[in-house]
């Protein structure tokens, strides 16, 4: 059973050790842009990792944990459904600047869903969606908006 304090605890761990973002990759077969919402938490404490997985399981959020060579465990929640479901539960407990990331991510997911439910991959990305993603991907090596706009599955006119 998951209660409010569990969710508050999980949101603190995500704020401290995690990230709420989107993975941007190029699909090999057609050169399309693929944007995958992710929540990722890296930690090497088994107690924290087990508790995170327990909470995710109880919430029916699919979470995958994998151990890196250096012994650090990364717990990853990806995909629109899982990320959105988890954000719905923890968003009100977030207090850091990741609140903005969570809001942008939920808005992005909402926009994608509104287009054509169940056929996310077939729709092109539009400028608004990419701007939302770029607003939370601030790393120097992250793909820029201009780069993303060049992909064939991005609708420039929209």
């Amino acid at each position: 059973m998951v209660n409010d304090t569990d969710l508050a605890w999980l949101s603190a761990v995500i704020e401290a050790e995690g990230s709420i973002s989107a993975q941007a990759t190029t699909r090999k077969k057609d050169g399309y842009l693929v944007l995958t919402p992710i929540i990722r938490i890296a930690n090497n404490d088994n107690g924290i990792n087990d508790e995170m997985l327990r909470i995710c399981n109880e919430l029916n959020v699919k979470a995958t944990a994998f151990v890196k060579k250096n012994g650090t465990t990364t717990t990853r929640i990806d995909g629109m459904l899982s990320v959105d479901l988890l954000l719905v539960h923890i968003q009100k407990y977030l207090r850091s600047s990741k609140v903005n990331n969570a809001e942008a991510m939920r808005k992005f997911i909402q926009l994608r869903r509104n287009k054509s439910p169940g056929k996310f991959r077939l729709n092109k990305f539009n400028r608004e969606e990419l701007e939302l993603i770029c607003s939370i991907r601030t790393h120097s090596s992250a793909k820029t908006l201009d780069e993303m706009m060049q992909y064939p599955n991005v609708d420039i006119d929209d």
Binding site: D4, T5, D6, L7, A8, W9, L10, S11, A12, V13, E15, A16, E17, N43, D45, G47, I48, D50, E51, Y93, R95, S96, S97, V99
Partner: protein, 178 residues
């Protein structure tokens, strides 16, 4: 141990759980040890949290104020941003036995990591110190009692960093019972 703690109505259980999660992720519960000029060892239990996010720092301080635990924050300004990190970071530190006990007692129920063990060790150390902190010498004067071997072993059990003062060195201090 009797705790006199006034908790503000503005602090909820979820705030405490959030605080516990933050300390488990970005914080530490441990002891600071240093040697005085006369060779005596000084052991200070503390809870510390470090972060660069101003909102997290403010929220942490708000909750500490709400539970009536005084926390000290100090900024570590990064003068050369290209070498170490891009952001200035802030350390929040809670020390003194009473404050540490009050804080730990509140957050322990929500802790899940190995730091829960650290918290129980710190509590055991403080309880032991508070029982035997002051004694009288042969002339009836109040003196601060020495650290017992058991107390020092407790401290060494959670200070596992390779640069931490080893147990053997701590036991050599004149204010540790032989």
């Amino acid at each position: 141990m009797v705790i006199f703690l006034r908790i503000s109505t503005l602090v909820s259980n979820t705030d405490i759980a959030w605080l516990a999660g933050m300390i488990e992720s970005e914080g530490s519960i441990s002891f600071q040890t240093y040697l005085r000029k006369n060779g005596n060892i000084c052991i200070v239990p503390f809870v510390r949290m470090t972060n660069t996010d101003v909102k997290i720092i403010k929220e942490f301080l708000r909750i500490c104020e709400g539970i009536n635990v005084k926390a000290t924050d100090y900024m570590r300004v990064n003068l050369n941003k290209n070498i170490f990190s891009n952001k200035d970071c802030c350390n929040i530190r809670i020390e003194k036995m009473e404050r540490v006990v009050n804080l730990i007692n509140l957050i322990v129920p929500y802790m899940k990591s190995f730091k829960k063990k650290n918290a129980s060790v710190v509590l055991s150390f403080i309880e032991s110190r508070q029982k035997n902190l002051l004694n009288r010498d042969n002339l009836g004067r109040i003196i601060r009692s020495r650290y017992s071997k058991n107390e020092v072993e407790l401290v060494a059990s959670i200070r596992t960093h390779r640069r931490a003062m080893p147990l053997s060195e701590m036991l050599c201090a004149p204010n540790v019972e032989k």
